[in-house]
Amino acid sequence: MRTLTEIHPASKPQGAAGESVAHDSARLHVSGSARYVDDIIEPQGTLFAAVIGSRIAKGRIRHLDLQAVRRAPGVIDVLTLDDVPGHTDIGPVFPGDPVLTRDAIRYAGQPIALVAASSEKAARQAALLAEIDYEIQAPQLDAEVALAQQQLLRPSHRMQLGDCAKALQASPIQLQAKMHIGGQEHLYLEGQVSLAIPGEDGDMLIYTSSQHPSEVQKLVAEVLNLSFHQVTVDMRRMGGGFGGKETQAAPWACLAALMAAKTGRPVKLRLPRKDDMQMTGKRHPFVNRYHLGCDHEGRILAADIEVIGNGGHSPDLTDAIVDRAMFHADNAYFLPNADIRGHRVATDTVSHTAFRGFGGPQGMLIIERAMDDIARHLGCDPLDIRKRNLYAEARDLTPYHQQVEFDTLQRLIDELESSSHYRARRTAISHWNQLNTVLKRGLALTPVKFGISFTLQHLNQAGALLHIYTDGSLQLNHGGTEMGQGLHTKVAQVVARTLGVDLSQIRITATRTDKVPNTSPTAASSGADLNGKAAEQAALTLRQRLSDFLAEQQGIAASEIRFSDNQVCWGTSQSMPFAELVQQAYVARISLSATGYYRTPKIWYDRETAQGRPFFYFATGAAVSEVLVDTLTGEYRLLQADILHDVGHSLNPAIDIGQIEGGFIQGMGWLTTEELVWNPDGQLLSHSPATYKIPAISDTPPVFNVKLFDHANTEDTIYHSKAVGEPPLMLAISVWSALRDAISSLSDYRISPDLDTPATPERVLMAVEALRQKLNGDRR
């Protein structure tokens, strides 16, 4: 008989939910020992693949000659569409994404063939030798033209509250505006990568950097014509995801798997940065319009809002993304009469995809713009207009008829207004601006109200698997993926708290489709909400089993038993170490392994009537940004940011603050320096970090105050926490609004400048010039 491990004296438990423990991989990150897919030591005989992509954006392939590729040094095999045994369309929700093309070209970079060679360099060099004769057509890149021509990826959608047209007509003040909102490249620092290892009897093991292992499993099985149970996907960690590895990781996994199946050898496919930027989708560019009616106090009476999401060549997730833009076109404001229309247009670029916020930011931007525009029109401080329009008592119904719990945001804004000294700074800035002719300061406070839940209802479910071993250590697995957000740390903290054991007793393993099946993508900020609850369920099941066993053994009620401090306690002073109970339970033949499962309650949405409760709850926050603008060059700096953000009862304050700060800076990048540029031929010119500029260290404001608004989520979420992944990104709208504030100061705050995003120095200078011309025109 085997001996059970010796039990060490218990200590105070460390790292339970609510504590600021370090990321579970922090020590591995800093020592270079955190393993990413490209770091896995390749099995002997591994081939390295490179994609042959289209050099044109639109047209057809007349002739494809891969002879030179095949003959190139080191090349082992070449794969084209003819070699795909199963499905050839890998569209995630709707069809439209061919894994390879041999005929129609719909975007620059579209994969045509795959070459595998004995080294990465050999494969990439060989890929350059493809001779492809194209019939070139002019690409259509303009979203508004696409809408006019009804080039739609999916049907348009409309949400209505009250009678917008009538209320608009009756409004004493009417304002209209239109703006272009740029997309965003994810620029996860670890690019797309997959390693496919063929097993026996047709099985395939995939290591991939993906937010959605179950979908990779499904698509790999489908392209290879296998059952899902033959494909296993393993995902330990990503070097960043941000939505860019929700659907966009799958093509490379499928291609690697196809080549692995064809050659019988392991195949690694890692995209060079340029290919990654040219071949994968981005945040959707939008063109948004509003036509508002308001009263003399600046309260909105009617809001007619149209959002046009540019989805690129295929539907991908565009339907849900434009929906989310519509769901957030109110942001934090009550629109008593609203008519919100959302279009999903097709253009000849890569298929745009999920990116932190998932359309929400683009929807929010138009109503935040409106707040500033109303304020300038009325000569008020924009903060007053925002506060007057906030959801409030009897003004708490969204355009999709969900009731909003409004008091959190009101209190949060009041607290931030005071802690950031908004009013005093406003006065000081106005004074400063009068004294300085070239440099101008700007200030803005903007709120965020972000709906939490997948709007596709069935995705709101999660599973977990928890094993207790006989030394008392635990292994935890759940369906969520770790992309840096600290999900594994938080979920393990939940289990530590539920079982009253040290966090160090719990080991989280790679997300694997053979451990927890049929998982949802780690997206929609839902990772901790869903998987935390599922893991808690698994822990509760095991706790119950152990309690029942102990209760019977000791002749007590199971309800008297407490799990804390690595001990199990009952009665007035009786206890035993957790591990001892585990060992006794094992000997008594109690199962020490359990699954957990969770589905979000209460949510529904009826697309026909455009009404429902799509969100379980709302995450909220607000930010104050102060900028300095050079009116000679359009250059600017963010001088100070003050953020107050609501994560409910935080599962891990340090990790949550990290998400807030990181999201804010990423959002600022989207709205300021990150500019995607396509030429008229449909080629992406900003295809490297040399030309596409995400924020760098000097862009972080020298004064950066971030606080949590500690306030329990009123809904029954995991330890009454709130989701934190996406909402903080939109706090950065305050930076853009502050830039407009600074520009507006040139007109003594009478004119609200047009400032499309990204607000590069060039756009800021052009906005300054346009405003000056308008002022001169007014004077004449």
């Binding site: 620092l189 800076i665 970090p689 000097s698 862009d699 972080t700």
Partner: protein, 488 residues
């Protein structure tokens, strides 16, 4: 060739000369702590630290291993993230500071930050700066992080600068220095690395040897810091079988302080030249901090920036404004050529075949001269200029005697604005006095619209930069928003 990887001496017998250090680490040595982010020197993920003997011991500098050829680390110690800690339980102070501040999220950029911070803390004057935030920005401006927003990384850096802690590297300085000196002594010929009979990486020690090699291998490529050339192999996948490095050519490695001029060897890196350049030309300091990243400035050379004649190089506009001269050496001997005459077209120069730039001669400023240098780009750190302008004026009794305006980003080559210069002649340096010059810029230049900026923005902001110079001269304080970036 030999180099030290952390504490281990590595002997490389044969290797393709265009192999990058990153490729060698990850593929040949299977050391995978160092990651690849972009393979173009733009993200800093692959940062490693080179240690080389100097007068006091060892000099540490962070570099991008993705655009460094293996041959260039000959006789260096390459310090990688794996070399810092004994185990995950015994972290290096830099690593521990990052853990303590929650400064890693996805962790992919983290090894690069670790190495940049390691290099920062090993600078001789690390903890004596009066502006630690500026120092941190300069040290880490070439490391991108997409997750954290940098605040915890800045806090980690602050704590390290405030509480310097000795590490095992301090203790080993003497022995490492000895081993590196021995490794260098073991290089007997010009060719330090080769593959077969045809491919090589050569490191001649003086100008004559360099000329000989160039004559013998006319198709060989000259490589200095490789910060541009390496992209041909990592981005265009073009083989570079024969490389001749300038990194040891004595005549190209000197800085000479002459009475009339500052003479900087063409193979002197930006970092090495910084102190001399900013002492002689104080307004250059701001530009040097924004020229590439520290990793790039630690490798890139002034000569390389000129020789590749990119329209957007940041030093050529300054050299044009300063009326610099180039010392050219070719088989016929040494000549001097004015920088004005050097650039002939897009990436084309008057460099004679078989010749090279040996040094740059920068005439010193006169007491009455005014020098202003501006760079416009989307991002403050590590970005390429949309417009770069160097204004150099000589004035007498309030009137402009001579004006030289060097521009980058406005034409196919770095270029002077001759019409605008002429329009400034005899004028006062005032808003009115520069009006004609501002208008003349449209005759001097028809800039391109490209990924960085539109032609319209370039022309308008160029004209406005002249006004900025006037206003700064009048108000005697900076009107650049960048000055507000580095102060708490």
């Amino acid at each position: 060739m030999q180099f030290m990887l952390n504490q281990t001496l590595i002997q490389v017998d044969e290797c393709a000369p265009d192999t990058t250090l990153l490729e060698y680490l990850r593929t040949h040595l299977v050391q995978r702590g160092t990651k690849e982010g972009c393979a173009s020197g733009d993200c800093g993920v692959c940062t490693v630290v080179l240690a080389e003997p100097d007068a006091n011991g060892l000099r540490y500098r962070a570099i991008n291993s993705c655009i460094t050829f293996l041959g260039a680390v000959d006789a260096c110690q390459v310090i990688t993230v794996e070399g810092l800690s004994q185990s995950t339980d015994q972290l290096h102070p830099v690593q521990q500071a990052l853990v303590d501040q929650h400064a890693s999220q996805c962790g992919f950029c983290t090894p690069g930050f670790v190495m940049s911070l390691f290099a920062l803390t090993h600078q001789p004057d690390a903890s004596s700066s009066d502006n630690p935030l500026l120092q941190i920005h300069q040290a880490l401006g070439g490391n991108l992080c997409r997750c954290t927003g940098y605040r915890p990384i800045i806090d980690a850096a602050r704590s390290l600068l405030k509480n310097p802690q000795p590490d095992q590297f301090d203790a080993q300085t003497g022995s490492i220095r000895q081993q590196l000196t021995a490794a260098q002594a073991s290089d007997t010929g010009d060719i330090t690395l080769q593959q077969g009979n045809e491919a090589f990486f050569a490191q001649p020690r003086d100008s004559q040897s360099l000329l000989k090699l160039m004559a013998r291998y006319p198709d060989a490529r000259l490589v200095a810091g490789a910060t541009d050339l390496a992209l041909e192999t990592t981005q265009q996948l073009r083989p570079l079988p024969r490389l001749i490095s300038t990194r040891r050519v004595a005549e190209m490695r000197r800085i000479e302080e002459q009475d009339e001029a500052l003479v900087i060897g063409a193979a002197v890196t930006y970092s090495e030249a910084e102190a001399a350049l900013t002492a002689a030309f104080p307004p250059l300091a701001g530009l040097l901090h924004r020229l590439g990243s520290l990793q790039v400035r630690n490798q890139g050379t002034l000569g390389g920036n000129i020789a590749n004649a990119s329209p957007i190089g940041d030093m050529p506009p300054v050299l044009l404004a300063l009326n610099a001269r180039l010392r050219i050496r070719d088989p016929q001997g040494v000549t001097e050529i004015a920088i004005d005459d050097f650039f002939t077209g897009y990436r084309q120069t008057r460099l004679p075949a078989g010749g090279f730039i040996e040094a740059l001669i920068l005439p010193r400023l006169q007491p009455d001269s005014l020098l202003r240098i501006y760079k416009l780009s989307k991002r403050l750190d590590d970005d390429i200029s949309a417009v770069c302008l160097a204004i150099h004026l000589k004035r007498h009794q309030g009137r402009i005697l001579e004006a030289r305006l060097g521009f980058g980003g406005m034409a196919a080559t770095p270029a002077r604005a001759y019409q605008a210069e002429a329009a400034l002649q005899g004028q006062t340096f005032t808003a009115d006095g520069i009006q004609a010059a501002q208008q003349a810029l449209t005759q001097d230049f028809s800039p391109l619209t490209d990924v960085r900026a539109s032609a319209e923005y370039r022309l308008r902001s160029a004209a406005n930069l002249l006004l900025r110079a006037v206003l700064e001269d009048q108000q005697q304080h900076s009107l650049e928003v960048s000055h507000y970036a580095h102060t708490d």
